[in-house]
Structure formats: structure tokens, C-alpha cells
């Protein structure tokens, strides 16, 4: 018997199952997140190792890394973001369609890392809202996968109305985004 995924709780009967729409949509979303690998530096090489055969990232549903933001669900920022790159990152984030998640992989993306200098952005959460931070310099592939599993948890449990709620709008307003 092959166990693919646990079905959500609900009322079953012959030929039907009644459950929460949130849970079904969450289940579908979490297993088909298409990432946008925004790899700038060394963490990008660890991501390449994660995507390759030994650690195989596509097991978790991200078979198709998209390089166009309009077709991606998850923005994976891997590597140092310099102040020159910050507007580009913001543009890429704004082009993504809701629902979208952001994972900051590595110490440089989370907080500037070892580069406490005049030209490095001290953490990407100065320009875009971040959902999961993966620390490490660079994080091992297992850690990157763990961060991705946390995003899957967020995607599975998110209520359908979150993206139009007041709280989310206030979060975006903090970053001057609509």
C-alpha cells in the first residue's frame, strides 16, 4: 500500500467526502509549490546541491522551478542581497501573484550575515515580508528542505481569506506595497 498524503478530516460516504474547502485547497497548494530560485551567491550552490540527485528537492512538489515571477508561488532568496540589488528583489516580489510565500535562505538573506558593511542589505525583511528564515552559512541541504517543509505547513494551514484580510493589508502597507 502506498501512502501518498494524509487526507483531511471529513465526513466520508459512498462516492463523496465532505470536508473543509480550506483544507483541501491547502493540501493541493502545499504539494505543488513552484519555487523561484533567486540565487545570488554561495547559498545558491547549496541550493543546486539540494536540487540535484542526492537531496532531490522535487520530491516535495517543486518539480518546476520557475524563473518568471508571474508563474511562481514561492520566492526563495538565497544569498547576499546588496543595496544595489534590493530594488530588483522588490520588483520581482511585486510581480508575483497571491498567494505567495518568501523563504530567506542563509544568514545573509536573513540578517546580512557576516557582511556588516555599507553595501549589504542587512536582511531582506527590510524590503519584503518574509515567512520563513533558514539560518546557516550556507545551510546544509537538509536545512533548506526543513525550511521548505515549514513553508508547506504554512501553505496547508492558511485560511482562504488571509490574503484579503486587514492584517495582511497592514503588513504590506508597512513595506509600502499594495
Amino acid at each position: 500500500m502506498v501512502n501518498i498524503e494524509k487526507a483531511p478530516e471529513g465526513i466520508e460516504g459512498p462516492g463523496f467526502m465532505a470536508t473543509n474547502l480550506d483544507q483541501v485547497i491547502g493540501l493541493a497548494r502545499k504539494n505543488s509549490l513552484w519555487p523561484l530560485p533567486f540565487a545570488t551567491s554561495c547559498c545558491g550552490i547549496e541550493f543546486m546541491a539540494t536540487m540535484a540527485s542526492t537531496y532531490d528537492f522535487s520530491r516535495f512538489g517543486s518539480e518546476r522551478p520557475s524563473f518568471s515571477p508571474r508563474q511562481a508561488d514561492l520566492l526563495m532568496v538565497m544569498g547576499t542581497i546588496a543595496k544595489k540589488m534590493a530594488p530588483v528583489l522588490r520588483q520581482v516580489y511585486e510581480q508575483m501573484a497571491e498567494p505567495k510565500w518568501v523563504i530567506a535562505v542563509g544568514a545573509c538573506a536573513s540578517s546580512g550575515g557576516i557582511f556588516d558593511t555599507y553595501s549589504v542589505l542587512q536582511g531582506i525583511d527590510e524590503v519584503i515580508p518574509v515567512d520563513v528564515y533558514v539560518p546557516g552559512c550556507p545551510p546544509r541541504p537538509e536545512q533548506i528542505i526543513d525550511g521548505f517543509l515549514r513553508i508547506q505547513d504554512l501553505a496547508a494551514n492558511e485560511p482562504l481569506t488571509r490574503r484579503s484580510s486587514e492584517e495582511y493589508k497592514r503588513l504590506l502597507a508597512k513595506y509600502d506595497m499594495k
Partner: protein, 168 residues
């Protein structure tokens, strides 16, 4: 592989040709460092390129240094290499003033183009004759020159670093 030129022979050829323009030279750690008059830098590069017994035709590196206590506060350093003779040499040209200026080496070596832009970006040294002297690594709107000694390392606009925790 051994080199076919020795430091003494090289220095002799230089002083024979340029005389007083060669200010001083140092030879420890094996590589000859020649300090020369900054107005003659292109002449020296061309001479080294064309002289058949030297054939120094490869520019390894071009960078700058800031010595704020000295009168001629900026130094442009060229690392040159003769592949044929397996000989490396370093030239230092000191320049000073409000806006330090020196002639551009792009007429001799194509590689000097971006290296001079980087030196301008970091120190504010103007290279006369450079086809396109503008910032290369830092943001275009920056006005200060970050590798000068008075420029701080860390971002001055950071508000979340508490000095108390960093021993300041």
C-alpha cells in the same frame, strides 16, 4: 621556472632610461617594487612593453591605496608580468591633491579599463583619458569613496545595532 631577468638588471635598465623619474625601489620578498614619478607612468608602461629584452606585456593588477598622513595621499599600484621572461614587478605612483589625477593605462592594456573604474569607485582617483570613468561596483548615486580611510565600514543608517552590546 626560473626568470631570465634579475631585479638588478631590470632596475639598471629603468634608471638608464628614465633617470630621476625613478624615485626609489625596494626588493624584499623577491618582487621588485619601483616607486616612480606619476607623470611618467604611461611612458614607463610603453617602454616596458616595447623593449625587446624585457617584454613586460601583461598587466596582472591595477589598484590604489590611501595613505592619509602622507602629502601625496593616494598611490596607484600596477602589477606587471612578463610571461616570456617569467618576471613580475610592481610599480607605485604617488599622487595627491584635492582630486588626485593620473593618466589612464587603457591605451596600453585593455584590462586597465575596469580596474581603473574600480579604483575610481573606491578612492576617487581620476584617470585622464579613460573612455568611460564611472562607478562600477557601488550604487551610481553614491557620492563618497568608500575605501578611503575616513569612510566607516558599517552602514551609518542602521538603527537596530545597540552600541552597548558591541562594546562601544
Amino acid at each position: 621556472m626560473e626568470s631570465t631577468i634579475t631585479n638588478e638588471v631590470f632596475l639598471q635598465k629603468l634608471t638608464d632610461k628614465f633617470g630621476d623619474a625613478i624615485i626609489s625601489s625596494v626588493d624584499d620578498y623577491g618582487m621588485l617594487t619601483v616607486t616612480a614619478d606619476s607623470s611618467k607612468n604611461i611612458e614607463i608602461l610603453n617602454y616596458l612593453y616595447d623593449e625587446p629584452s624585457l617584454q613586460v606585456q601583461f598587466m596582472t593588477d591595477l589598484t590604489g591605496v590611501h595613505y592619509p598622513e602622507q602629502e601625496l595621499a593616494f598611490c596607484v599600484v600596477y602589477h606587471l608580468h612578463s610571461l616570456v621572461n617569467n618576471y613580475r614587478v610592481r610599480f607605485k605612483f604617488f599622487i595627491g591633491g584635492e582630486i588626485p589625477t593620473i593618466a589612464s593605462a587603457t591605451s596600453v592594456y585593455a584590462t586597465a579599463n575596469w580596474m581603473e573604474r574600480e579604483t575610481y569607485d573606491f578612492f576617487g582617483i581620476i584617470f585622464e583619458g579613460h573612455p568611460d570613468l564611472r562607478r562600477i561596483l557601488n550604487v551610481d548615486e553614491m557620492v563618497a569613496f568608500p575605501l578611503r580611510k575616513e569612510f566607516p565600514l558599517e552602514d551609518p543608517n542602521r538603527i537596530d545595532k545597540k552600541d552597548y552590546y558591541f562594546g562601544r
